[in-house]
Amino acid sequence: MESLSLLGDGLATALTPENLLWAAIGVLLGTFVGVLPGIGPAMAVALLLPVTFGLEPTQAFIMFAGIYYGGMYGGSTTSILLNTPGESASVMTALEGNRMAKKGRAAQALATAAIGSFIAGTIGTLLVVFFAPALAEVAVEIGAPSYLAIMLMAMVLVTSVLGSSRLRGFIALFLGLTIGLVGLDLNTGQPRLSFDQPLLADRIDIVVVAVGIFAVGEALWVAAHLRRKPLSVIPVGRPWMGRDDWRRSVGPWLRGTALGFPFGAVPAGGAETPTFLSYVLERRLARKGHEFGHGAIEGVAGPEAANNASAAGTFVPLLALGLPVTATATIMLAALQGYGIQPGPQLMTEHADLVWTLLASLLIGNTLLLVLNLPLAPLWAKLLRIPRPYLYAGILFFASLGAYTANQQPFDLFLLLVFGLLGLAMRRFGLPVLPLILGVILGPLMETKMREALAISDGDLNGLVDEPLAVIVYGVIVLLVVVPLVLSRVRPGAAPTARVAEDTIPTDPTDPREPREKETAR
């Protein structure tokens, strides 16, 4: 098993004290931001992008991996104790988890979420170890036209399948693609959308966009809704599980992993669908079916495992194809580019040490999380008492610092504010952030591939469809767009998962959908 020996080498690199330290920092930071709703791992990684200029790529990615997994653990803590899912993937965990907590079984809910995440994350990472190299080997052969088609598919999937509204998704995507266009054309050197501003012609730094949208946008949004009725947190001690809880959790953990990983690995991304499916599956399977809706441990164990397995799965397209499908992965891809590393199939061979150390540190980060999270859970719950002004003052400070240090241009601070306002507007109008970030980062890559394909065919448009794979992928895209449209015509009542999730979404303080009601609720 070549992969295993490579992973062994990766473990050896990742296990140096210094790298372990970065993993621990990442994990703690990730849990910190995950616990606080509204601040996610994507924002944390975006804020840390400038920090990484002083770090080796390996160390930076070890830290990012820790943040990524840590964010997920943190999110489940908040879902269970506060009934406030920090991200859409935790909605299902909140359903049963919070009811368990209300019944006084918060410790068991947290334990099954933590251990389930650990198991799913570990199995998922091992699956990545086996799948990603194989996929990369095939992917190296893929030509520019097919590559373009696959990127398009990822964009269409992320925009139309995830999220509640296609229109909003596509608005966000095109906003992102437009931002990605600003600056000098990489092929011809012509300035585009730069409004005769030499600073804009330099292309907009991804740090500025990401930090502006995630950090400043969120800070402005919170500032606009500063005072809200506090929620009651359920006090919890150290998480633990009884024998019966173990017996009931093992099945859902494994089934959740099996459901979650493929959804993450296919560039369809998003943990919404698999967590929802896992919840439904466990509900069907539960012999104590009546307990669902009143705090069934299976309803926490399954979705939480699915969530983490799908998070691990997203590393397959990210590492093998250079295709990110979550906001955090997208920003990690930007970090790769910042190091001058070209993401894509050749990543596995050209930067094998980086990839294997990253995978190994995912395993280590997962273990660290389990070790840290079980005893620290009561402490994490205390974080929720931090007054928002202090928290967001800190975030804005780091956001401005990061945006400025990227190029040391005061103009970037102005851009940061512009993107912050855009982020605020997106939250206000319920536009998803992921398609925008994906558009900004994948847009230029996609353009390169299209130019490449057209250059090969001498400008003939047939060059875009002269590979069978490309044709198949375009077919899939058409199906993806048309089938749901037809389905919604035929069965108007058919509710996609997103809508179900939306109905059951409990009070999320950062939820743009109900700002009015929140303001008046005293």
Partner: protein, 131 residues
Amino acid sequence: MSAETVVIAYTPDEFGRAALEHGIVEARRRSARIVAVNATRGDALVDERYADDAAIDALESALAESGIEHVIRRPMAPDVSEAVLEVAETDGGTVIVVGLRKRSPVGKLVLGSVAQRVLLGAGVPVLAVKP
């Protein structure tokens, strides 16, 4: 309606309970009505001194048991002490009851106390009680 009003600064902890206890005694003595205030700054996700619905229900039943005419106010304001004082003013409070924390002089220096600011800012007598 009674001529006098006892304003109780309530929190769901021992200090709030002490204030409630003494507030009810005071209301009986003055044959006054009670206005219980539980305020929050509302700028954190969780504020353990802001009573949730269950705690408010408990407060309501405790007040109902005393048989005194009462109102519960749950304002949200930038400053909790200001909120208490404002309620005292608008509801025509004749006395304010607050629970007092045991504080060393140094502790008082470091942490601003809501009770202290109520004491300093109130235009009516303040009854400060300890649990």
